[in-house]
C-alpha cells in the first residue's frame, strides 16, 4: 500500500488529466477523435478509482473500477465507433463557435466550480478531497460542450462525459456510491446509449443528416 501522500498525488494527477481531457473535448471538432478522448477520460477515471481503492482498502471500489473499465473504456467507445461508421459520419467535423471564447467560458466555469467546492472539501476527510472542484468542473464543461455543439453524436458524448464527472465526484467525495446505485447508473447509461443509437438512425432517416439544426423548428411562428 502506497503512502497516503503519494496516492493523493496520484489522484491529483488523474484529476488534472481529466480536466485537461475535458478541455480537449471542448475544442475538438472531429467526432471520431472526440470518442477517443472520451475513452481516454474513462481510462483516467478507471486509474483514479483503482488508486483510491488501493490506498484506502475499499474492496467495492474495485468492482466499480472494473465496471468503469468495461463500460466506459471498452464498450461505449466501441459502440460509438461502430455507430459513427455505420452512419457514415466518421469524416464529419463541425464548425465550432468562437473557440477562444468557449475556452474562456470554460475557464470561468472551472474557477466557479473550485469556489463552490472549497467549503465542501474542507468538510470531507477522504484522500481525494481536493479533487471535488475538478469533478464539478468536468460536469460543467461537459454541459458547456452540449450547449455549444450541434451534432447529435456530440450531444451524446457530452452527456456521457457529464456522467464521468459525476462518477469522479462520487469517488473523490465519499469513496463511491453504494454498489446498487452504481450498477443501476451503469445500466442506465448502457440502455440510453442503445436508445440514442436507434434515435440517430431515425433522425438521419428523417433529415438526411445528424445536425440538430434540422430539429429546431420546435416553435410555431
Amino acid at each position: 500500500m502506497p503512502t497516503l501522500a503519494f496516492s493523493s498525488q496520484l489522484i491529483n494527477l488523474c484529476a488534472a488529466l481529466l480536466l485537461l481531457l475535458s478541455f480537449a473535448m471542448l475544442s475538438q471538432r472531429r467526432v471520431l477523435t472526440l470518442v477517443d478522448l472520451f475513452a481516454m477520460q474513462g481510462g483516467t477515471l478507471f486509474v483514479s478509482i483503482i488508486v483510491v481503492a488501493w490506498s484506502t482498502g475499499q474492496p467495492h471500489l474495485y468492482y466499480s473500477a472494473a465496471l468503469t473499465l468495461i463500460l466506459k473504456v471498452i464498450l461505449l467507445p466501441l459502440i460509438l465507433h461502430r455507430l459513427i461508421r455505420r452512419l457514415g459520419a466518421q469524416w464529419e467535423s463541425e464548425t465550432l463557435l468562437n473557440t477562444p471564447i468557449t475556452m474562456l467560458a470554460g475557464l470561468l466555469l472551472v474557477i466557479f466550480a473550485f469556489t463552490l467546492a472549497q467549503p465542501i472539501s474542507q468538510l470531507a476527510n477522504t484522500v481525494a478531497r481536493g479533487t471535488l472542484g475538478i469533478a464539478l468542473a468536468v460536469v460543467m464543461l461537459a454541459f458547456l460542450m452540449m450547449i455549444t455543439r450541434r451534432k447529435a453524436v456530440t450531444q451524446v458524448i457530452g452527456f456521457l462525459a457529464m456522467e464521468n464527472g459525476l462518477f469522479f465526484a462520487a469517488t473523490s467525495a465519499t469513496y463511491g456510491m453504494p454498489m446498487v446505485v452504481e450498477l443501476g447508473v451503469a445500466l442506465d447509461v448502457l440502455v440510453s446509449m442503445v436508445i440514442l443509437g436507434i434515435f440517430f438512425f431515425h433522425i438521419r432517416e428523417q433529415f438526411d443528416s445528424l445536425d440538430l439544426h434540422n430539429m429546431e423548428s420546435l416553435k410555431e411562428d
Binding site: F112, T115, L116, M140, I147, R149, Q155, E216, L218, K219
Partner: protein, 667 residues
C-alpha cells in the same frame, strides 16, 4: 351546544343522499325515463326534507360536528346555526320545486347524457348544502369549488355550440377569480395562527387594516359569484346558455349562497365591523341594482333579461348588507336587525320568484323553441298554466303587495328611512338619497317585469308557429305551483317567518325584532304608529274591492255590451308584428340612461328599399375593463413566449444556467 347534533347529522345525510342520487343516475345513464321520473322526484323529496330540517334547526341552538375525514391535522368541521339554517331552508325549498320541474323538463336528445346531468345537478345541490354547514376554511373551499365546477358543467350542457363554451369559460374565469379572493381572505383571517377552522378565525384578533383587507377580499370573492358590478359579466352570458332549471338554481340559489358567505364572514368570523365597509358595500349594491335594472329594461332575450334582473336583486341584497353593517357599526341594534331581516327576506324572495320565472321561460322555450322576445307574444291563450304562474312571479319580483317582493323592499325602505338618525354628519345626509335610488330601482324593476310579461304572454302571437305551443306537463306544473305558493305564502305571512329569522339577528348582531312581531297579521318593524303593513288585510280588501267592482259591472252593464272591431287608424294591413316590441318598450330607458350603455345603431336611409334597423346595446365594462386586461395578459404572455426559442442548445443553456444559479445560491 347540546349533546347530540341530530339535525346536523340529518342534514349531512341528506347532502349525501343527493350525492347518492347523482351516482344512481349512472345505473342507466342514457335512460331519460329512469333519471327524470325516478331520480329527480326523489331529489325533490330530499329537498322538502332539507326544508323541514332547516325549519327545526332555526329555533334550536347551534350544533357542531367533526367528521373523521379531511386533512390529517384538520378534520372536516360542520356547524349548523341559525344563519346556516336560513340558507338551508332556501336551498331545500327552492330545490324541491326546481327538481320536480326538472323531472318533467329534461328530455332525451338534449346535450349531455341524462345520467351525467343528474350527477352534476345533485352534486351541485349537495355542495351548496356543504358550503352553508362548513365550519372550516378547507371544507368551505372544497365545497365552494365543487359548486363552481358542477355548475360550470351544467352551464355547458350543450357544449357542442361554441357560444355556450365561451359563456362557460367566462363563468369559470370569474369563478376562479373569486376563489382566489376567498383563499387570500381566509389566509388573512387566520391571523397568524395558521388555524383554518372558523372557530379559530372567530377568536383571531385582527388589526383594523387586516380586517378591512379580509372584508374586501371576501367582497371580491363572493361578489364575483353573486354578480356584483363589475364582476357581473358572466351572468348574462351563462344564463341564456344554461338549461332553464340550471339557470333557476344558479340564479335563485347559488347567488344567495354568495350572500351567505358575505354575512358569515362579516358578522360571524370577523370580530369588528367598520362603518365605511358598509358604505362601500351599500354604494356597490346601489350601483349594481341600478345597472342591472336598466340593462334588463333594454334586453330582447328573455333569459338575458332575467339575468340582468338577478344582478339588480343581488344589488338590493348587498345594499341591505351594507346598511346592516352601518347600523351595526354605529351600535343601533334594532335597526341593524331590521336591515338584516330585510336582506335575508329578500334572499328568500329572490330564490322563489326568480326560480319561478326562469322555469317558466324554460317552459316557453320548450313550447316555442324561441328565446327572443321579438318572436313571442300572446302565449297566455296557449299556455294558461305557465302564464298565470309566471304572473305570480312577475308581480312578486316587481314588488307589488300582497306578494313577497313588497315585504322585503318595504322593510329595506323602512330601514333606510331611519338613516338620518345615524351619528355621523355626512352619512346621515347622504344615505336617505339611497332610499330614493332604491325606490327608483323598484319602480324600474316593475317596468322591466311589465315588459317581460306583456311581451311574452299578452297581446297577439307575433309568429304563426306560436299557435302550436303546448302548455307544460303535469310535473312542470307542480314545480311551478310549489314556487308560486312560496311567493304567496312569504307575501301573506311575513311575520311568522320574520320571527324565525330573528334567531339569525340574535346570533349575528345580538339584537332582535322580537317585541315588534307580536301580531301575526300586522307587520310593524319599529313602531306601529310610524309604519305598519298588514298583508292579510290588504289582500282581503283587494279581493273584496275586485269582487265588488266585478259584481257592480255585471249588475249594471250586463247585456248592454256591444262588440265591434276597433279602429285601425285608417291602416288596413295590421299584423301582429306591429305590436309594441321589446325594443320599443325599452326605448325610453335606453334614451334616459344612455351614458350607461355602449350603443351601436344602424339607421336605414329614407330611400332604402329594404330597410334594416339595427341597434346593439353593450356593456361599457367589456371595453373599459375586461378588454384592456385581456390585452395585457396577451402582451405578457407574448413576452413569455420569447423564452421559447425552439433551439435545443438554448434549452440546454436554460438548464445549465439554472444549475449554475442554484449552485451559486447554495454557495
Amino acid at each position: 351546544m347540546t349533546g347530540h347534533p341530530t339535525d346536523l347529522i340529518s342534514v349531512t345525510a341528506l347532502a349525501c343522499g343527493w350525492l347518492a342520487i347523482g351516482l344512481l343516475g349512472f345505473i342507466r345513464p342514457r335512460s331519460t325515463g329512469w333519471v327524470a321520473h325516478g331520480l329527480f322526484p326523489l331529489g325533490a323529496v330530499l329537498g322538502i326534507a332539507v326544508t323541514a330540517l332547516a325549519l327545526v334547526a332555526l329555533v334550536q341552538p347551534a350544533e357542531t360536528l367533526i367528521l373523521p375525514l379531511g386533512l390529517p391535522d384538520l378534520h372536516f368541521q360542520l356547524r349548523l346555526d341559525a344563519l346556516s339554517a336560513v340558507f338551508l331552508l332556501l336551498i331545500g325549498a327552492t330545490a324541491a320545486g326546481i327538481s320536480i320541474f326538472s323531472a318533467g323538463y329534461f328530455r332525451s336528445g338534449e346535450g349531455a347524457a341524462p345520467g351525467l346531468l343528474c350527477l352534476q345537478y345533485h352534486l351541485f345541490l349537495a355542495s351548496m348544502v356543504v358550503v352553508v354547514i362548513a365550519d372550516d376554511a378547507y371544507l368551505f373551499m372544497v365545497a365552494w369549488e365543487t359548486m363552481a365546477l358542477s355548475s360550470y358543467f351544467l352551464v355547458t350542457t350543450q357544449h357542442r355550440l361554441p357560444e355556450i363554451r365561451r359563456a362557460g369559460f367566462i363563468y369559470l374565469l370569474i369563478a376562479h377569480l373569486g376563489a382566489i379572493g376567498l383563499l387570500l381572505c381566509f389566509g388573512v383571517m387566520q391571523g397568524g395562527n395558521w388555524q383554518f377552522t372558523f372557530e379559530a378565525m372567530r377568536a383571531a384578533q385582527l388589526t383594523p387594516v387586516w380586517a378591512s383587507a379580509a372584508f374586501f377580499l371576501a367582497l371580491l370573492g363572493f361578489g364575483a359569484k353573486a354578480g356584483l358590478v363589475p364582476l357581473h359579466v358572466w351572468l348574462p352570458e351563462a344564463h341564456p346558455a344554461a338549461p332553464s332549471p340550471v339557470s333557476a338554481l344558479m340564479s335563485g340559489v347559488m347567488l344567495e349562497i354568495a350572500v351567505y358567505g358575505v354575512l358569515r364572514i362579516t358578522f360571524d368570523l370577523l370580530h369588528m365591523q367598520l362603518w365605511w365597509w358598509g358604505l362601500v358595500t351599500l354604494g356597490l349594491g346601489l350601483f349594481t341594482s341600478l345597472f342591472g335594472v336598466v340593462f334588463a329594461a333594454v334586453q330582447t332575450d328573455m333569459k338575458r333579461l332575467l339575468a340582468y334582473s338577478s344582478i339588480e336583486n343581488i344589488g338590493i341584497i348587498f345594499l341591505g348588507v351594507g346598511l346592516t353593517v352601518i347600523f351595526h357599526a354605529f351600535h343601533m341594534p334594532l335597526l341593524a336587525a331590521l336591515a338584516l331581516a330585510a336582506t335575508l327576506y329578500h334572499c328568500l324572495n329572490h330564490a322563489f320568484s326568480k326560480s319561478l320565472l326562469f322555469l317558466s321561460t324554460g317552459s316557453v322555450l320548450h313550447a316555442t323553441r324561441e328565446r327572443s322576445l321579438g318572436k313571442l307574444g300572446g302565449l297566455i291563450h296557449r299556455m294558461p298554466w305557465v302564464a298565470w304562474l309566471a304572473l305570480v312571479g312577475t308581480l312578486a319580483i316587481a314588488g307589488l303587495p300582497p306578494l313577497n317582493g313588497f315585504v322585503s323592499e318595504w322593510l329595506l325602505l323602512q330601514a333606510f328611512l331611519f338613516t338620518p338618525d345615524l351619528p355621523h354628519s355626512y352619512i346621515n345626509m347622504l344615505l336617505p338619497m339611497g332610499a330614493a335610488a332604491l325606490a327608483l330601482v323598484a319602480a324600474l324593476a316593475a317596468y322591466v317585469m311589465v315588459k317581460f310579461y306583456g311581451v311574452i304572454f299578452l297581446g297577439q302571437p307575433r309568429e304563426s308557429s306560436l299557435s302550436e305551443a303546448q302548455d307544460c306537463g303535469r310535473l312542470e306544473r307542480i314545480g311551478l305551483l310549489w314556487l308560486a305558493a312560496g311567493c304567496v305564502l312569504l307575501g301573506i305571512f311575513p311575520v311568522p317567518l320574520l320571527a324565525l329569522l330573528n334567531g339569525v339577528s340574535r346570533e349575528l348582531l345580538g339584537a332582535s325584532l322580537g317585541s315588534q312581531l307580536q301580531h301575526w297579521w300586522l307587520l310593524a318593524p319599529i313602531a306601529p304608529e310610524r309604519a305598519s303593513y298588514s298583508p292579510v288585510v290588504f289582500m282581503l280588501s283587494t279581493v273584496v274591492l275586485v269582487a265588488v267592482v266585478v259584481l257592480g259591472v255585471r249588475l249594471f252593464y250586463h247585456g248592454r255590451v256591444r262588440k265591434a272591431s276597433p279602429w285601425g287608424c285608417g291602416f288596413p294591413l295590421l299584423t301582429p308584428r306591429m305590436q309594441d316590441t321589446a325594443e320599443g318598450f325599452g326605448q325610453p330607458i335606453r334614451q334616459i340612461f344612455e351614458p350607461l350603455f355602449r350603443m351601436r345603431r344602424e339607421l336605414p336611409s329614407p330611400f332604402d328599399t329594404s330597410p334594416h334597423y339595427r341597434v346593439q346595446v353593450e356593456d361599457h365594462f367589456w371595453y373599459t375593463l375586461y378588454m384592456p386586461i385581456a390585452g395585457w395578459v396577451r402582451r405578457i404572455s407574448s413576452l413569455a413566449s420569447e423564452v421559447q426559442q425552439g433551439r435545443i442548445s438554448v434549452y440546454l443553456l436554460y438548464s445549465f444556467l439554472t444549475l449554475v444559479a442554484l449552485l451559486a445560491f447554495a454557495l
